[in-house]
């Protein structure tokens, strides 16, 4: 094989790999990228049951309930405009509490209950999930506020 041909074949192989990778990425992103929804987005846009999403907002004060098995919790997530009920089985992160921010990964069931498979709470006192930037909870009025 001539050197020139070899270089051409290599370039072609690289090109094919590149295009293949692009197509693969596009299809995988279409199926697997989880969209981030605030409760108001859920209300206005609607989310089909079973579709993997990330739901983010604040845990409504007084909404946290524990099931008899001791490991399942029920709580409401709000962004100040709408509220969505959610459930989670497992050990909640240490900083998961009422009035605190949470990002829940999971999907809605057919009755409109959000079943979380994973909870991302604040990492420590200073860290806040990026998706929740600009939100905070008013301790006195128990309302969500969006800064600006």
């Amino acid at each position: 094989m001539k050197a020139k041909h070899q270089r051409l074949i290599l370039a072609l192989a690289a090109l094919v790999a590149l295009i293949g990778a692009g197509l693969l990425a596009a299809s995988a992103l279409k199926d697997e990228a989880a969209y981030f929804y605030a409760p108001n987005d859920v209300k206005t846009k609607g989310v089909e049951p079973g579709k993997a999403i990330r739901l983010g907002g604040m845990v409504v004060k007084g909404s946290l309930q524990r099931a008899a098995d001791g490991v399942t919790i029920r709580f409401d997530v709000t962004d100040g405009k709408a509220t969505v009920p959610a459930t989670f089985s497992g050990i909640a992160p240490d900083l998961f509490k009422e009035g605190s921010g949470v990002v829940a990964e999971g999907a809605f069931d057919s009755k409109g209950l959000f079943v979380a498979s994973n909870l991302l709470a604040k990492h420590d006192e200073r860290y806040m999930p990026r998706e929740l930037e600009g939100m905070n909870y008013n301790e006195t009025t128990h309302e969500m506020k969006a800064d600006k």
């Binding site: 790999a17 989880a34 991302l120």
Partner: protein, 642 residues
């Protein structure tokens, strides 16, 4: 005084880097070779000065000098000494200082010890190194001064994030940084080679030890980081596809490709342009990684130092260096002569396939990591998580493993397909045997990827031993052993991953003291909860007896509370057995005096990290094997003189 000394040393080092850059390029361009004589001393002095600056910062942390802002925000006088020490780089400014220090010291090492390169290429390399350093000095001095004072000095510091207070994590960032910076040297070699038009086998041989060293450290760093996430975060997983993890994986993928292509260039003088390109890409990826982690631009469970204003500075540096290097590449690569040709059936071809597959994974990981940023620019918030990465990386990684099994069995330059088939017959038979027995015992119980993973792991394990077949083991060169051990390590890791995802048993319960929990053949008796106190934390600890048939072992998961900053962490109890690990996490107390417990039995999960260590060990063996010949020659020459 110590802080001012550190700052002065840093400014002097920056000035020397500028001088080094000017001298190198004026000397090369202007045809004034005298100027070049000063380049090496400048590089060495720069290395010494950065080391002084870093030593100053360590001293400030060890003394808990609360008049320094960085110490106040990241340390506390009550902290154990190890974490005061490690706290030096457990923050943005300190880690950037560590970065330039490692770079300065590496530059000094290149100046002092590099003998394989021709003088002009050597000087151009040092000039390139100075150009990179200069940007990072500017970043440090203008936007993140680690030595800034605070007045009045507070009584005490704010502490270090408790998640970072772990011996594993104390040494994990320096390991990764050494790897990143090792790649910067490879990058400088590529720049030097392009500038002096000397892209050839000699250049590859000079670059290879740096690539190998960087790759070994990156491998160790990633392995340690994975194990840290596994035991410290308490979620039982070993890889999260978190942007911070991807930030270290991407340079590793590029370095792995570079490692193989530089070997082709060094031994067969082929793939010249490609190797230079990969050297550029590999260091670009370490900078992209730094940018992602340090700019706070991406959501991450463990991005500790976030400050968007700094992001733009790193982004500027990124554009300058990557853009500059690519422009230089485009301008000069046409003049790089053709390397040696090879046939379609040859080891070179398999290595090209390996490089393409690695590059494709790299590209897909990069797309997945940056995609949320791109969509956010259009107003959509999206997160790309494990499902995407698993789906794309899994199949390609398996294809890569197949290439890895075949590669060492092929001859350089030219081989015959029939002979290759014969050489691969034994691993193929083993793969067939494993698939049949797995189908019989576990069909329907495990997914397709873990199934293929186990089959490929066993076949690769067998194939990677093939290069030692019928060889005199004592006369086999050390770097061949390096390759065998590293490839075997990949098989071991893959087997661990497949076993973990296929056979893990999980149980989630709320139990009272006195209860016994049975899962996966284990019987765990929950004895009691006791409060305990450590150096700077208090904890609730559950005492449990875990047994499987015979005698029982005491295990103690903890839930820890740190006062400064107020945080809690969970310390999982890990019980390691030859066939897997028992992993117990203590949750919170719920009604009726019950405690949440999460228990996993993870068969053969430890193979994942054992494999990682083997891969790094293989790299180290190859490095020693390649270098030893040089050392021996030098030693003999000295003996002859004496």
């Amino acid at each position: 005084m110590i802080a001012e000394t550190g700052l002065a040393a840093l400014w002097l080092a920056a000035a020397l880097a500028l001088l080094q850059l000017v001298l190198a390029f004026a000397g090369l361009k202007g045809g004034k070779p005298d100027l070049l004589d000063a380049v090496r001393p400048a590089a060495v002095a720069q290395g010494v000065l950065t080391a002084i600056a870093f030593a100053a910062l360590i001293t400030l942390f060890m003394r808990s000098d609360m008049s320094v802002l960085l110490v106040v925000t990241n340390s506390h006088s009550m902290k154990p000494w190890l974490y005061k020490f490690a706290g030096t780089w457990g923050n943005h400014e300190g880690s950037m200082l560590l970065w330039v220090t490692v770079m300065g010291v590496a530059g000094a090492a290149v100046a002092l010890f590099e003998r394989a390169l021709q003088r002009n290429a050597h000087m151009a390399t040092l000039g390139g190194q100075a150009a990179i350093s200069l940007g990072f000095y500017a970043f440090l001095l203008f936007s993140s001064n680690p030595f800034a004072r605070i007045d009045p000095a507070p009584a005490d510091g704010q502490g270090l994030n408790p998640l970072l207070q772990d011996p594993g994590l104390a040494f994990h960032p320096p390991t990764l940084y050494l790897g990143y910076v090792g790649l910067s040297v490879a990058f400088s070699f590529a720049i030097g080679a392009l500038l002096t038009r000397q892209v050839d086998a000699a250049f590859a041989r000079a670059m290879r030890p740096w690539v190998l060293g960087a790759w070994v450290l990156l491998t160790l760093g990633i392995t340690a980081g994975s194990y840290w996430a596994y035991y410290e975060l308490g979620w039982g997983g070993w890889w999260f596809w978190d942007p911070v993890e991807n930030a270290s994986l991407m340079p590793w993928l590029a370095a792995t490709a570079l490692l193989h292509s530089v070997t082709v260039l060094a031994t067969r003088d082929a793939l010249r342009a490609w190797t230079v390109m990969l050297a550029v890409v590999a260091f670009s990826m370490s900078m992209v990684g730094t940018f992602l982690v340090r700019s706070g631009i991406l959501t991450s469970v463990h991005a500790f130092a976030v400050d968007p204003t700094r992001g733009s500075f790193i982004l500027g540096l990124l554009a300058l260096y990557i853009g500059g290097a690519l422009a230089l590449f485009g301008w000069r690569i046409g003049s790089v002569r053709e390397g040696a040709p090879f046939e379609l059936v040859s080891r070179e071809t398999v290595l090209v396939v390996n490089n393409l597959l690695l590059t494709v994974i790299l590209g897909l990981v990069l797309i997945g990591t940056l995609y949320p940023l791109m969509t956010e620019a259009f107003g959509h918030k999206v997160s790309v998580g494990a499902p995407y990465f698993d789906r794309i990386a899994g199949p390609i990684a398996l294809a890569l493993m197949v290439a890895m099994a075949a590669g060492p069995s092929l001859r350089w330059r030219k081989d015959q397909a029939k002979l290759v088939g014969r050489r691969l017959l034994i691993p193929l038979c083993i793969a067939l045997l494993v698939s049949i027995s797995l189908s019989l015992f576990a069909w329907g119980r495990i997914g397709i990827l873990p199934f293929l993973g186990l089959v490929v792991a066993v076949a690769v394990g067998a194939a990677s031993l093939a290069p030692l077949w019928k060889r005199k083991l004592l006369r086999t060169p050390l770097f061949t052993y390096g390759m065998v051990v590293a490839h075997l390590g990949c098989a071991v890791s893959l087997a661990g991953m497949a076993c973990d995802s296929a056979f893990t048993v999980e149980k989630l319960v709320a139990a009272r003291p006195g209860d016994t929990i049975k899962t996966a053949g284990w019987s765990i008796r929950f004895r009691q909860i006791t409060p305990i106190a450590g150096d700077n934390w208090t904890a609730l600890q559950a005492d449990m007896d875990a047994s499987r048939g015979g005698s029982s072992v005491l295990i103690r998961p903890q839930s820890r509370f740190f006062a400064s900053p107020p945080t809690s962490t969970s310390e999982a109890a890990l019980l390691t057995r030859w066939d897997g690990q028992l992993y117990v996490v203590l949750g919170e107390e719920v009604e009726g005096g019950r405690w949440q417990l999460r228990i996993w039995w993870k068969p053969f999960v430890t193979l994942i990290w054992l494999g990682g260590i083997m891969i790094a060990l293989g790299g180290a063996l190859a490095l020693i094997g390649r270098e030893r010949r040089g050392w021996l020659l030098k030693w003999r020459a000295r003996e002859a003189l004496a």
